[in-house]
């Protein structure tokens, strides 16, 4: 699918902005703090009604303004989708092809995007909680039953922890009633996470290999519970330590995702460039996964992806990106890419929130 037109008014520093990218690769150039990231953020907001930088929607409105509007027109293989988001003093109204949505969650899937942001490098470097959030967010969108299992699992953990609090030794039958449910919902989480990571690992390895020739990326699901051991047995074995610590110490809420570059954990041993490439490979794998599900490529957004990649990697990334998906890419480099990327790209320059096609 291709973004045909994006209009932003009062969204961060962008006012009266009209962006008409071409199919294929679009490069948005500009110095720092000119509105490059905000432009991508606006499309993300139209596609998901969420921002990657903030959970406070008041941060999105231009300083001193009370409202903002974002409108995106996207050509899908079989239809056109027009999304309008109007935000006025904290009230958000979303329209799809002119019809108001009663639930914002109905917006998901109308426009598919894959977004690589500066914050995403934390997926490799950051905490396990960040990686679990990535798994949970992706799976909640892909598998309807996942979100239900996740919400139930979290509620059961909260209830069970309350029972364990303060070193109390609860009635085993009472604890068992919660244990059994941890098993039911936890096994759904583990099974879906395993399948998702497995389907992501192959394409991620391939994408990584293409960008960083000669190096090998492995993405592995690291569940807290080993395969084949029933959850209830693990809980029974850890009961004493659970009571001592006053909380549920084992389960999928302790899961992790591991990135290995040439067999070494990327979190500790990889360079910044390698870490960035690993996350990028994960996003490119997601691109393929969404294509399998949606029947066409989503829109790929890469925010300042080139900043820590060497020339070789940048060039190879470029050949991967030309897979056919529309790509919106930002960079602070105002000149040197011409030689790198050739004439197939369309260039835009953004300055003080004003956009010109070059």
């Amino acid at each position: 699918m291709n973004l045909v037109e994006l209009n932003c008014d009062g969204f961060r520093s962008l006012s009266g902005l009209c962006f008409k990218p071409a199919p294929g690769v679009n490069i948005i150039r500009g110095h720092n703090a000119q509105g490059k990231t905000s432009l991508l953020e606006a499309l993300l907001f139209a596609a998901t009604s969420k921002s990657h930088r903030t959970s406070q929607e008041t941060d999105l409105v231009q300083h001193g303004a009370r409202e903002f509007h974002v409108a995106a027109r996207v050509q899908r293989s079989d239809r056109e989708v027009a999304i309008e988001v109007n935000w006025w003093q904290g009230v958000k109204r979303v329209r799809v092809n002119g019809l108001a949505l009663s639930r914002v969650s109905d917006l998901l899937g109308k426009i598919n995007v894959v977004f690589f942001s500066q914050e995403d490098v934390g997926l490799v470097r950051g905490s396990a909680a960040q990686r679990r959030r990535f798994l949970d967010m992706e799976l909640s969108q892909l598998m309807p039953g996942y979100l239900h299992a996740l919400q139930q699992y979290r509620q059961v953990v909260r209830q069970r922890n309350e029972l364990l609090r303060g070193g109390r030794r609860p009635d085993p039958d009472l604890l068992g009633a919660w244990d059994e449910q941890l098993g039911t919902h936890g096994s759904v989480l583990m099974e879906e996470r395993r399948r998702f990571v497995e389907s992501l690992a192959g394409p991620a390895q391939e994408a990584y290999g293409q960008v960083a020739q000669g190096e090998r990326l492995q993405v592995a699901y690291r569940p807290d519970l080993r395969d084949g051991v029933p959850f209830t047995e693990v809980l029974a074995a850890s009961r004493d330590s659970d009571i001592r610590q006053g909380m549920t110490t084992r389960g999928p809420h302790r899961d992790d995702l591991e990135f290995l570059v040439d067999g070494e954990p990327a979190r500790h041993f990889a360079s910044q460039g390698q870490q960035r490439t690993a996350v990028l490979a994960l996003k490119l794998a997601e691109l393929e996964l969404v294509r399998d599900r949606a029947g066409e490529y989503p829109i790929l957004m890469l925010d300042d992806v080139l900043s820590e990649l060497d020339t070789k990697r940048s060039r190879r990334l470029f050949s991967v990106v030309r897979c056919g998906a529309q790509c919106l890419m930002t960079t602070t480099d105002l000149g040197s890419q011409d030689a790198l990327f050739g004439a197939e790209c369309v260039y835009f320059l953004i300055r003080n929130g004003q956009l010109v096609r070059q």
Partner: protein, 199 residues
């Protein structure tokens, strides 16, 4: 708001404590009662008082009743060997509307929820166990809600009762009758598929 009438404020506060009543509705109810004929307003207060005075919980099933034991527990045509356990009195009314259940009930008045400080002692679990110990019960159907708390209550009861060699069953979860599958939410539908039965 009613600077001169703290009694109205009190009335509004009282309405706000009811489930599902917000500030606006509470004000509407209060103002309605104050502008309605006096006997209508007093009828409401009288109805609340009488119901509170007359209604107690049944000493057998713990459902709300004016006569103890309640009509369902004393009815000659009910099968006292089957007990259906529910969270709230409203669930008894719902199942009775179906008209096919011939057993008796037990109302727990809630579900296990450590976060709310509710354990077995805060529910009528002890009374249920006494009923079972007294004998004559062959099956207990657990019809608590399909929430984490309702499920935990069901599992806890099955552990407690199962030890005594009595059949414990859980009601099925599935699609509403007479409705198209396309109207069922996806979680219910996937549960219905998991709980499929052989034809």
């Amino acid at each position: 708001m009613f600077l001169d009438a703290p009694s109205v404020e009190r009335l509004i506060e009282a309405f706000r404590k009811l489930p599902g009543v917000g500030k606006r509705s509470a004000e509407r109810y209060a103002l309605h009662l104050l502008s309605a004929p006096e006997e209508d307003a007093l009828f409401l207060s009288e109805a609340v008082r009488t119901a509170r005075e007359r209604v107690t919980t049944c000493s057998i099933c713990c459902d709300l009743t004016e006569t103890d034991p309640c009509a369902l527990c004393t009815a000659s045509d009910r099968d006292r060997s089957t007990i259906c356990v529910v969270e709230r009195p409203a669930a008894v009314m719902a199942i009775e509307k179906g008209g096919t259940y011939r057993g008796v009930y037990h109302v727990l008045h809630g579900a296990l929820s450590p976060l709310d400080g509710i354990g077995p002692d805060e529910l009528t679990v002890g009374r249920l166990m006494k009923r079972i110990e007294a004998g004559g019960v062959s099956e207990v159907i657990v019809a608590t809600n399909a929430t984490a708390e309702g499920e935990a209550t069901a599992l806890y009861l099955s552990r407690q009762i199962g030890e005594r060699g009595i059949a414990v069953s859980r009601i099925a979860h599935g699609v509403p009758m007479g409705g198209g599958l396309e109207y069922a939410d996806d979680v219910t539908l996937s549960h219905a598929l998991q709980g499929r039965t052989r034809l």
